[in-house]
Every structure is written in structure tokens, then in C-alpha cells.
């Protein structure tokens, strides 16, 4: 518009030009066309300039946009990646391995930050002096090997995986720039040997200078390795069913018993009959998980302290199995507790001869007395009445035919040894606990399932809030009858040392000759077991105590039976642990409560 104002529109037919053209006799339209053409040219130029300007602006805009994107990409590629800070809200993720705690929240395994020591040999000033000084701080390092390493071709080497703060300061004081520290998370088991077999142990997996991953190598640590390392849990600890105090008391009693009885090994399992929670699991000899020993290179793995006798050790547990036979016979309605059974020993079966302990013969006795006196012949008769198929099914329903489902990596190795062919003679021997090897945890689960009213209980190492509602194994009546019989064993039978006032202990002893590796049985080596339940009238806990090769030498003759070895230790264990579990001693039903004289008199 402004341009038009400045340069007024030239008329298409200017009057002067038209007049002069007319004088010359030319066509004035030519002038008009000429002027129109000029005007069109002017218009065209203007629009072109305008379009060019627009294109330029657009090009500039695109250039700027691409330049911004380019620089942004360049900086992103060149810089270190960082989390957007404003987005990182909420609680921070805890990256360290989760703690393991007992049922009351006391720490069983935790982490400690320490440092590891490594050497960058290129940066070392005085490698020889450093090697000598290091050998003074760490007596287990050899100065000559260190010198060779420091001056050789290696550029980098780990010197020590874990340092204490004092050692770290001492290494600092050497003043060698080539010795460097890397932060480390160390797994700490503050209770030392307590529950060592359950926890297992941990070691370093992949290692870097700035950190190293801690991986479980055995036990619960390995079974729950992925869970413990999962940051999603946000530091929540793994709560086990173990009770630290009970475990400590059980271990103390068991260790004392093992030393008194000169036993090679011992184990104990205490289990809640309703929930299947294992409250204490001890296997001796044990080890310190902070410094886990290496597996034995030679010899029997069963002699290593790493071997968990309660879970991995499968033994012929002997007469403790008799109660299963009796309970099944009662459950099937074949007998009741007072049925008379003809139990004259020895009993012949094919080419086999079934004898009693020390060649005794009990004559005709009741089912209850078969259990109380631990008669092999009486049990064998009941087993024959039950039959192989039903016996196998019954033991299978309690979990005796497969490894336990305990939450440890070692659990599948505790696979019961079954007879290749479940013949009639197998039925007879299994009825009194020979010919079928199982672990003490199997036995604990079996006793708990049988005695808690007759429903299946699976052993677990994790804390449970409610009782298990397993499938029924025997009727309530049969379960009650079994409990009464077990109580009678303690009251007037082979386990008379098992009486603990106020706790109505019921249980069954088992003394099994140890099988030789090449077949046959040792004469003077036994596995002594006491499987107990307390209180018998209202079962709460099952306790299995097993000794490997115990000898009781207080008498004139060495005594090896469970009644003299495992039973007193189990009784002491119950006396120590039952109060810790909050179990009040009380009178049995049917027993007159004793009059307690009050000390206060007026």
C-alpha cells in the first residue's frame, strides 16, 4: 500500500501519449498494452520478492530448529547420562541384599560395608617395600609372591577381598599410591555357628572395582538368592520360622549331650505341629558361615561339618516308625489300643528271623504294649495285616517317599532310600524302621502330621501366620490313640528318662544299627533317635533328637540304646526350650492338680 502511495499508479492511457500517437497515426491501444505489460511486470517482481523473503524466513526457522536439535543430540551423546532429578521422588530403592531375621525379628544375616584392597601395579612407586609391608599387615600373604606379582606383567590384581577398618588404616599408612580400596558389601552372620546349616553362607559373585555382587552359596541364602537380591522388596527382610533363643538353647543342650555321649554327630529338629514351622534345626558338628569351610576333597561328605544331618542325612531311624504302623492299623480298624497281639519271638518269615532287642520274647501283649515295649514281632504282625500296598501309600501320604519341600537348596538331596521292591519282608522291616532311610525332618513332619489330629503338615522354614490345613491322613481317634500310646512309652516304657514334669512328653525311641558301606550292619555303631511330642494330650511341638554313634559309659557296660542316650538329652532340651516358647507347665487331664502350699501365711 505504502509503495503505491509513493509511486502513483501510472495511467494505462496517458492523455499526452495518446494524443501524440494519434497525431502520428499510430494505434493508441499499443500504448495501453505496453503500459499494462509494465504494470504486470512490476506486480510480478513485487510478489517474487515477497515470496523470496518468506522462503528465507522459513529457511532460517528450519535452520534454527535443526541446529537446536543437532546441538541437543550432540550434548546428549557427549555427556554422561543422569537421572532426571525432579522425577526421582519417593523412597529410594535399597540396593543391598535383604537381611534374614528370625521369627521375632532378630537378625540372622545382615550386610556390613567394608573395603577390598587391589593394586594397580603401573602406579606403584616402591613395589618391593609395599609387598613387604603388606605381608606384615596380613600374615597370610607371602611377600615373595606379592613382589613377583607387583613387578611382573600384571597391571591389576586383588590383594584382599575384605579388610577391617584397622587393616585399612594400616594399608593407608604404607603410603603407596598403587594400592587402592574398593567398597564392598560383606555378608555378616552375627550369631556365628547358630543356625549355620539353615543359613548356608554367601560369597562374592562377579566383582568390579566399585562393587561386587553377594551371592548365596548354600541353605536359605541360595534358595532365596533371587528374592534377597530383588530391589523391589525395598529392604524387607526374609523372616524365617526359626526362633533364635530356642535354637541357641537346643544347640547348647545338643552339643553338651554329644560330648557326654562321645557321639560322632547329632541333630535335632523342633517343629510346630499345626503350622509346620521349624523352630530350631541343629546339626552338629557345625561351622561358621562367616568363614565357610571348603567341602571335603576326600572321604565321606557326611563327615564334613557342612553336611546337614537333619535335612541331608538319611538314616534307618529304627523303632520310631512303629507308631506309624500301630496308628495305621488302628485307623483301618484292624485293631484298637487294647487288642491282644501274639508276639512270640523269634518270628520266622521265609528264610528271615525277626528277633527282639537282646533276644527277649514278650508273649501275647496289647497293641499299646507293643509300642511301649517296642516289640518288633508285634509290629511286624500288624504290618502284615495292613499289607505292603497300604503301608506304602500311608507312608507316602506323610511324605516319606520323596525329599522334603524345605526351602533350602540341600532339601532335594535328602532323598529317602526306599527298597527296590516293596515285598512282604520289606513291609515287615519298614514297620519297625529298617529298610527305609529318611531324614530327621521327614520324621518330624511325619510325627507332626500323625499327632496333630491327623492332617498332613509340610515342614517349612518360613514364618507362617496360620495353621496348615493339609489333607487328612488318619482319623482324629487314631491320632489320639497314637498320642496316648506315645505318652505311655515315656510313662512306663523305653523312654522313661524323657519325663519332664508339667509337659506330658510322649515319644518313641529308636535305636538302629548303622549299615556298613559294604553291606551288613555294625555291631557297636548305632543311630539313636528319640521322636517326641509335647504336651501329649494337646500337642504343640514335635522334637526329634538323633545321635550318630553315641555311647553312654556311666554303667559297667557301654549303653547305646536311645533310652539311655537320645532320651535324656531330648528331655533336657524340652525342659529348656518349652518355657522359652511360652508353654506353661500344667497337669495332664485326669491328673489331680497338686496342692501348692502358699508361702505367705498369716
Amino acid at each position: 500500500m505504502t509503495e503505491m502511495k509513493e509511486t502513483p499508479r501510472t495511467p494505462l492511457r496517458p492523455i499526452a501519449s495518446v494524443l501524440s500517437a494519434r497525431e502520428k497515426g499510430e494505434n493508441p491501444d499499443v500504448i495501453e498494452r505496453e503500459n499494462l505489460r509494465k504494470r504486470h511486470e512490476g506486480d510480478r517482481d513485487r510478489t517474487r520478492r515477497c515470496a523470496e523473503g518468506r522462503l528465507l524466513v522459513l529457511a532460517l526457522f528450519f535452520f534454527c530448529a535443526f541446529a537446536v536439535i543437532g546441538t541437543r543430540m550432540g550434548t546428549l551423546a557427549a555427556s554422561e547420562a543422569t537421572e532426571p532429578r525432579a522425577a526421582a521422588t519417593g523412597t529410594a530403592i535399597i540396593a543391598s541384599r535383604a537381611n534374614i531375621v528370625d521369627r521375632n525379628g532378630r537378625i540372622l544375616a545382615t550386610n556390613l560395608s567394608t573395603h577390598s584392597l587391589y593394586a594397580q601395579t603401573r602406579d606403584m612407586v616402591e613395589p618391593n617395600r609395599a609387598a613387604e609391608e603388606l605381608a606384615l599387615i596380613f600374615p597370610d600373604l607371602d611377600p615373595e609372591t606379592l613382589k613377583k606379582d607387583f613387578t611382573g606383567d600384571r597391571k591389576f590384581l586383588w590383594v584382599k577381598k575384605k579388610l577391617s577398618p584397622e587393616q585399612m588404616q594400616a594399608v593407608h599408612d604404607i603410603g603407596e599410591p598403587g594400592l587402592l580400596f574398593g567398597p564392598r558389601e560383606m555378608r555378616l552372620y552375627p550369631n556365628g555357628k547358630l543356625a549355620a546349616h539353615v543359613l548356608g553362607g554367601a560369597s562374592f559373585g562377579r566383582e568390579g572395582v566399585h562393587s561386587a555382587e553377594v551371592v548365596g552359596v548354600a541353605g536359605v541364602e541360595k534358595a532365596f538368592d533371587a528374592w534377597l537380591r530383588d530391589p523391589v522388596n525395598n529392604g524387607a527382610p526374609l523372616q524365617l520360622s526359626l526362633d533364635l533363643t530356642v535354637q541357641a538353647a537346643a544347640r547348647e543342650v545338643l552339643q553338651g549331650g554329644m560330648h557326654l555321649l562321645n557321639a560322632k554327630g547329632a541333630s535335632s529338629v523342633m517343629m510346630d505341629v499345626e503350622t509346620g514351622e521349624i523352630l530350631s534345626l541343629v546339626s552338629l558338628p557345625d561351622f561358621d558361615p562367616n568363614d565357610r569351610p571348603r567341602p571335603l576333597a576326600t572321604g565321606d561328605a557326611g563327615d564334613s561339618p557342612l553336611f546337614n544331618r537333619a535335612v541331608q542325612g538319611v538314616y534307618e531311624l529304627g523303632s520310631v516308625f512303629k507308631i506309624f504302623t500301630a496308628a495305621q492299623a488302628i485307623d483301618l480298624g484292624l485293631v484298637n489300643a487294647h487288642t491282644m497281639i501274639e508276639a512270640h519271638a523269634p518270628m520266622r518269615w521265609g528264610k528271615f528271623k525277626i528277633k527282639e532287642f537282646k533276644g527277649k520274647s514278650y508273649g501275647t501283649i496289647t497293641v499299646e504294649d507293643v509300642i511301649v515295649k517296642s516289640s518288633n514281632v508285634g509290629t511286624a504282625k500288624m504290618a502284615l495285616a495292613i499289607g505292603a500296598e497300604r503301608q506304602r501309600e500311608f507312608l507316602g501320604s506323610m511324605g516319606f517317599l520323596e525329599p522334603t519341600e524345605l526351602e533350602m537348596v540341600e532339601a532335594p538331596t535328602g532323598k529317602p532310600l526306599l527298597p527296590a521292591k516293596w515285598s512282604e519282608i520289606s513291609t515287615i522291616t519298614i514297620s519297625y524302621g529298617h529298610g527305609l532311610s529318611s531324614s530327621p525332618v521327614h520324621l518330624a513332619a511325619g510325627y507332626a502330621s500323625l499327632l496333630n489330629g491327623g492332617t498332613r503338615v509340610r515342614p517349612t522354614l518360613l514364618r507362617q501366620d496360620s495353621p496348615q490345613t493339609g489333607e487328612r491322613i488318619v482319623s482324629e481317634g487314631a491320632s489320639k490313640a497314637a498320642r496316648t500310646m506315645l505318652r505311655q512309652v515315656v510313662k512306663r516304657g523305653t523312654a522313661s528318662f524323657g519325663e519332664v514334669p508339667g509337659y506330658a512328653v510322649g515319644g518313641k525311641t529308636g535305636t538302629a544299627d548303622k549299615p556298613k558301606p559294604k553291606g551288613g550292619y555294625y555291631k557297636d555303631k548305632v543311630i539313636a533317635t528319640f521322636a517326641s511330642v509335647f504336651p501329649a494330650h494337646d500337642p504343640k511341638y514335635v522334637l526329634i533328637v538323633t545321635f550318630d554313634e553315641p555311647v553312654e559309659t556311666s554303667g559297667t557296660q557301654p549303653r547305646r540304646t536311645a533310652g539311655w542316650t537320645a532320651v535324656p538329652v531330648a528331655a533336657e532340651m524340652i525342659r529348656r526350650t518349652a518355657p522359652l516358647l511360652g508353654l506353661r507347665p500344667g497337669p495332664e487331664p485326669g491328673e489331680e492338680p497338686q496342692v501348692v502350699k502358699a508361702s505367705h501365711q498369716q
Binding site: L112, P190, Y503, V596, A598
Partner: protein, 118 residues
């Protein structure tokens, strides 16, 4: 009028810029503060873990048993035994309080010669 509008717009832009920068600085300060607090929480959490570990280590049953044994003369601590459970009936209650005297009656008497009540 036009100048006034231009001035207003310029002032508005300046004001908004001032506000935006202030907000930006405040946000950055808050972020810095939160990062610092978070770092502090992390450090405290770590020292808490160490203290917990030490607590667990010092309270390991083995050590407590040893301490109880060493200090047996002073403390006389023994393992918990079933006999230590008591029933409420076993607790000796204090004797019933003497009933308050609300309506006293004055009684006077005299001892006769031998010092005996009549």
C-alpha cells in the same frame, strides 16, 4: 495510549520473566535440598544397618551366656525353667485393709486393783 500498552506489555514480560526465574531457582534449591536429605538418609540408613549389625553381634546368645556366667556373682542369672511359671493363685495378696472407723463410741473403763478386767 499505544505507548502505554507497549510499556505495560514490556513490564509484564519482565515481571513474568522475574517470576519464572525465581520459580526456577526455588525449584533448583528444593531439588538440591532433597538430594542432600536423600544422601543424608542413605548415610544414616547405612550407619543404622551397621549399628543393627553390631547390636545383633553384641547380643548373640553365645556372648550373653558368657556374660551371664562371668557376672553370676552379681546377677545370678540362670536359664528360664518351667518352675518359674506361676499361677495367679500362688501370688500372696496383701491382707485386707482395716475397715475405717466411721462412728466411734467413746468407752471408758477402769482397771481394778490387780490390773485385770472385771
Amino acid at each position: 495510549m499505544k505507548t502505554f500498552l507497549y510499556l505495560c506489555a514490556a513490564l509484564g514480560v519482565m515481571g513474568l520473566a522475574f517470576w519464572a526465574y525465581q520459580e526456577n531457582y526455588q525449584t533448583q534449591a528444593a531439588l538440591k535440598q532433597s538430594a542432600k536429605v536423600k544422601r543424608e538418609i542413605g548415610e544414616l540408613r547405612q550407619s543404622l544397618a551397621i549399628l543393627n549389625a553390631e547390636w545383633a553381634y553384641l547380643n548373640r546368645p553365645e556372648r550373653l551366656a558368657e556374660l551371664a556366667e562371668i557376672n553370676f556373682d552379681r546377677l545370678g542369672l540362670l536359664p528360664l525353667e518351667p518352675e518359674q511359671f506361676g499361677a495367679v493363685e500362688q501370688v500372696a495378696f496383701p491382707p485386707p485393709p482395716v475397715l475405717p472407723i466411721t462412728d466411734p463410741i467413746e468407752v471408758r473403763g477402769q482397771l481394778d486393783g490387780e490390773g485385770q478386767f472385771p
